[in-house]
């Protein structure tokens, strides 16, 4: 069975204490985010079984939650998951051009991962940054007021600097 790092295990125990005794299942969403940070950005069945054991609940209770929420990846993803907002205001301001541009530049379609395992391109629903549309998210970082030139330089920067998987729950918040 896979296991979290010591720091992550300690963090999980602190999070469980935020809920009343016997209500530790409430910690499932934060713990699944931490699981994606610990295990290359996605949730395999053994990882979900491990989370079930940490929370003392049945594996099915983890599967049914993991499959409901859009931020959980049930298949392997690239080191850098690009999530472009495609909803309403971002669409008005040119999100489709941004998606099309990234598809051409990376040679993948929406939902796919590049052959070198560096990038996965996803489209997501409104991320509450409509005043700075179009925008996209990578990990916890919002990249806003995008132009195609700006997208190019952001992608180049990730390509050069990304050494390990970037997750929504950034690793720096586990280590402290």
């Amino acid at each position: 069975m896979p296991e979290f790092s010591t720091e992550a295990q300690e963090l999980v125990q602190r999070i469980i204490k935020r809920y009343p005794e016997g209500k530790q299942k409430s910690a499932i969403l934060p713990v699944l985010h931490i699981a994606q940070a610990e295990f290359q950005g996605w949730l395999s069945v053994p990882v979900m079984d491990y989370v079930a054991s940490l929370l003392k609940i049945l594996p099915i209770e983890v599967y049914e939650v993991a499959s409901f929420y859009s931020m959980f990846n049930l298949k392997p993803v690239g080191k850098c998951v690009i999530e472009v907002c495609r909803t309403g205001p971002c669409w008005l301001m040119g999100a489709e051009d941004v998606v099309h541009h990234i598809e051409k530049k990376l040679g993948v379609k929406e939902g796919e991962t590049t052959k070198d395992g560096m990038f996965t391109l996803k489209t997501v629903e409104c991320l509450a940054a409509c005043g700075s549309a179009p925008m996209m998210q990578v990990g916890e970082t919002y990249h806003e007021n995008l132009s195609l030139e700006k997208v190019d330089s952001i992608l180049n920067e990730y390509k050069t600097n990304t050494k390990e998987h970037i997750s929504h729950w950034d690793k720096k918040h586990i280590k402290k």
Binding site: R86, T87, H173
Partner: protein, 446 residues
Amino acid sequence: MGRQLLIDNINQTGIHTLEGYRTYGGYQALEKALRMKPEDIVAEVQKSGLRGRGGAGFPTGMKWSFIAKPPGVPRHLVCNADESEPGTFKDRYLMQRKPHLLIEGMIISSFALGANLSYIYIRGEMMAQFHILQNAIDEAYAAGLLGKNILNSGFDLDLHVHCGAGAYICGEETALIESLEGKRGNPRIKPPFPAVSGVWDRPTVVNNVETIAAVVPVINISGEEYAKIGIGKSTGTKLISACGHINKPGVYEIELGVPVEEFIYSENYCGGIKDGRKLKAVVAGGSSVPILPAELILKTAKGEPRLMSYESLGDGGFATGTMLGSGGFIVMDESTSVVKNLFNFTRFYHHESCGQCSPCREGTGWMEKILRKILDGRGTIADIDLLWDIQGKIEGKTICPLGEAAAWPVAAAIRHFRPEFEEYVKNPQNIKDVKHYYRLNNLQEA
């Protein structure tokens, strides 16, 4: 510009820290509130006329007065920070810049409700703000503003921030409660209402971020003074997140009652339509509320200037009016295709339907397919009538309001822009390239 009660000093360096927040008067309302009786705080909020800022506009003091108080059963306050309504980005802004304003509001409101364990449920995508709030909560604990015997008042409160993981439906309060319990976000049948049986079957109040933040100025200046701001039953200030084809998108705090025309064209607010284009339509309160054409958003059907207030935006009912909603103000210029925009919104609601109720689960899918057919140039006049028919069979027939949220935009677009739908049907050769659009929306090209 009117009074600013929420975003005052928001650009000051360090206001996100406890020290910085205190420099600008932070936590004075808490000191005052802890010297009051809890029921007097509830009365003060009732006097203020404050209404829920998440979209429904229900009077906050009344909601608080409904909370059941069975002896020996803990009560909970949960802040709804699951801001997901397309066009709405005010709560994220507030939590990013002034996390302590929300925390101060949570402590006061928890004290008023007799809650000793409260949560802020923030959407998972806002992980950066999740950690900002956690840091602010840590600071508050260290300063004795949270934990046991807060400021020697004898009041104990534990406050935690909890994150979601991507589901629009969790902004609905009973779905949010299910999600907080560690389950899928399926809304519950009401009654029982959360005030009687909420999280872990205990009495629970769920309030939006802006609502809880507004409790701080209500206590600071008194409910009576707060009620003097605004117009009629639309008291106080409201955060409006303005976006789309305008010169100055962003979050504005308005005194309720500002004319819509002033809000769109004044340099104090949106600064007019981008690139000198003409205004075509506005979705005034987040994607769920009815779209209005330029003439009806600027003036009511009676020809009176339309104001930014619950009543004025609602004037005329859905035949000629709309709703203030969440304050997500989406402006569209003359180049916008209402049909394409509606397709985008409908695809969104189909994607976000939790799937419990068949009218919503199936109906949103059918509406998306029919709109796709019309955009494809394969639509018929009967399809437009079918869309109208389906939306009417979703509205009012589902457990939660996502059904209405999906139905209203369809009804309003056809009501006010039917000739545009007919143009797609009659002259499909004029439809511009929509290939990128299909890709963006995850569709196979025809």
